[in-house]
Symmetry: C2
Subunit: 415 residues, 2 copies
């Protein structure tokens, strides 16, 4: 009996969107960035990774399944995370199940890992951030590691840079750090998700035919060839980090929006300054920016901030529910779904925003009026694949309900 | 009789395309730039402005016609040019026509100006550069001004910054100058059009539904809000100017292409770093860049350089005729004309490139094969309005043939 037990832990970790961007590494292996960054954690109810990790003396190798499909763990980034977390494993004793794992046993024991994203993996929605954060967090719990979430973030960082910011809810800063081994390049919470809870986030998943440059390749090219990146990293971002922390602490939406939009645009500017140039935004992204800019200018104070990661999808942060409902109307005016689409599948996540916008069925979308602040009255059907309504959310949690586990508690294989 | 004479001069001036870009003024009124720029003059046979200027004691006011339609001369930029050139007017004596104009007469005499572009004015093809250069050049000849073309360029500059570079053929540098009155902010020729005469230029006039930001407004916004522009102007461009002059002198196409592409991309990067951001390139522009980049990378040495001004049109500079013919095939593969278009109106200018590419009729376009170096085999019919094939060309010339004049020699009104 003592040789057939399976010990499992299941955790859920959010994704995050940077409002001061990370772009460029000073160390490729350790994943150390050229500047600090700040992100908003997104509500895991709408976008998250769930990971179950299991250990058993019956496992003869480390194995991993992503969204039900077995994937290789041989990549350097997985190996870095596994090695780092194993080094921090501690003794585990479970009297009920008669399990006892000594600290030194972890070196020989093998792991099974199953991970699942509740959103499309390839849609450019930071699935690797949530994924590596969840891997490291769940393994730390399984192995009884004593490190706090900041210390764990420095491990998750070695899987995917932005993963370190998914170890906390609310507003998170990744400090670039100074030391060579990267131990001080980690995430700290600026404010929790309750601090500024009237923000509403709408993600526009933009249709694209163009193959995108991976962010790993892209940022390497930028570091090697852009003559503007170092100026951004050394002169521009440090000031913006201070201003952004201040804006978040004071819930100063005007400053938050100005900094968020400017920093997104500057990140895409250094991509364009790369040889060969990198284009992540497309004409649809540009139209969304124009829509937001025109509206913000027509109001006394900004209503919405926009930010774009390494792809054409827009992440729009509205000041409050009222602004979000108005934004939803403008977005659905310009980007109605294809005729055969159900409005409830076109707008995923928190559908109460749709209700606030007065939209219950397709005919409500059809009868929307063009935004009065813009001369563009065209409608671009099909240019957006779908929207997700969400908000700032909490950090990683353990799921104690065993029915949520992705691995079978007896076999340690995917359910 | 002595009171009814009309004295006329007709000139033709080329347009130009910057390969090291001008973006940002340090003086809005005098039009003094924040950095030097370098351009290639385009063959006036394909793209030019023709201007006839006339003076007569019978004219009771200054008047101007552009492409046959009367326009106002009251704008500050026209007035600056007229004032500057009148201040340099000299005595004119034409014994044959019994005309004698004393230096001081020019202050009282009125002018008629007719100007015509042999290409679409609003297509973003630097019509104002050719236009102001031609205005100043023809007026200088009419008024017997003694200034050389460099000195005249400092006047044309006050009409439209890039106009100063249209006073010379071949390769032209606009030096930003140092003095407050702008007298040293003028154009000088780097090399004439015969120096590097195997270059071939293909312009893709890109279809666009988006309203563009005017370059005057755009560069003002960039100067006021971009945190990258000053770094570009002070640290990046001065080095590139030296390298570009060297590349041109040595006919070093690899360096020329690298600098041209990088500087175009950096100009668009600072536009994106502007608040609100400015997008001049669209998805079609991006596709053209990807096509050129992929091809250049697949060859041992670059075959084509690309550069984009304040709009989505691509200006593609091919190393030689062979590269231009291959480029034409790739472009026509990706961007075939709409079915009802005649290939000979779709490719304007020097049609021998089309012949070199083996394309005589629409079925030759239809049977083109996808470029082997790219995975993108899609065809984007209608995304390009038309192409213009041209080459580096000569500077301003006087047209002595009176039949070319745009004004009637008796009435001084448009023919």
């Amino acid at each position: 009996m003592a040789d057939t037990w399976v010990r499992m832990v299941t955790a859920q970790t959010p994704t995050n969107i940077a409002v001061i961007k990370y772009w460029g590494k000073r160390d490729e292996t350790l994943i150390l960035p050229v500047n600090d960054s700040i992100s908003v954690t997104l509500d895991p109810n709408d976008l998250c990774t769930t990971t179950t990790v299991a250990v058993s003396p019956t496992f003869d190798q480390d194995r991993m399944w992503l969204n039900g499909k077995e994937i290789s763990l041989s990549g350097g980034r997985f190996q870095s995370c596994l090695k780092e977390i194993r080094a921090r494993a501690c003794e585990v004793e479970d009297e009920e199940k008669a399990i006892k794992i000594a600290k030194k046993d972890w070196e020989k024991l093998h792991l099974h890992i199953a991970s699942y994203n509740n959103f499309p993996t390839a849609a450019g929605l930071a699935s690797s951030a949530a994924g590596f954060a969840c891997l490291v967090f769940s393994l730390a719990k399984l192995m009884n590691a004593k490190e706090d979430n900041s210390e764990l973030s420095a491990i998750a960082r070695q899987g995917s840079g932005s993963a370190c910011r998914s170890l906390f809810g609310g507003f998170v800063k990744w400090t670039m750090g100074k030391v060579d081994n990267g131990s001080d390049s980690l995430a700290i919470q600026v404010a929790d998700e309750k601090h500024w809870d009237d923000l509403v986030i709408i993600i526009a998943v933009v249709s694209s035919r163009m193959k995108e440059t991976s962010s790993t390749t892209g940022m390497r090219d930028t570091v090697e060839t852009s003559l503007l990146l170092q100026h951004r990293a050394k002169e521009v971002v440090p000031k913006r980090i201070v201003e952004m922390e201040e804006a978040i602490k004071n819930r100063d939406f005007a400053s938050f929006a100005r900094l968020t939009c400017s920093d997104s645009n500057q990140f895409h500017a250094v991509c364009l300054d790369t040889q060969p140039p990198i284009f992540y935004m497309n004409d649809t992204s540009h139209k969304i920016i124009n829509c937001v800019e025109k509206w913000n200018r027509s109001e006394e104070t900004p209503q919405v901030a926009y930010t774009f990661d390494a792809g054409p999808n827009a992440v729009l942060i509205a000041h409050n529910r009222k602004a979000a409902a108005q934004l939803m109307q403008k977005l659905l005016y310009y980007f109605p779904p294809n005729s055969d689409t159900d409005i409830n599948s076109y707008v995923a996540g928190d559908k109460t925003i749709l209700k606030d916008a007065g939209i219950e069925e397709m005919k409500d979308v059809e009868s929307l009026q063009p935004p009065p602040e813009s001369k563009d009255t065209s409608r671009y059907k099909g240019d957006v694949s779908y929207f997700i309504c969400t908000r700032p959310g909490r950090g990683p949690v353990l799921l104690v309900d065993e029915s949520k586990a992705l691995l079978d508690p007896k076999t340690g294989l995917p359910k």
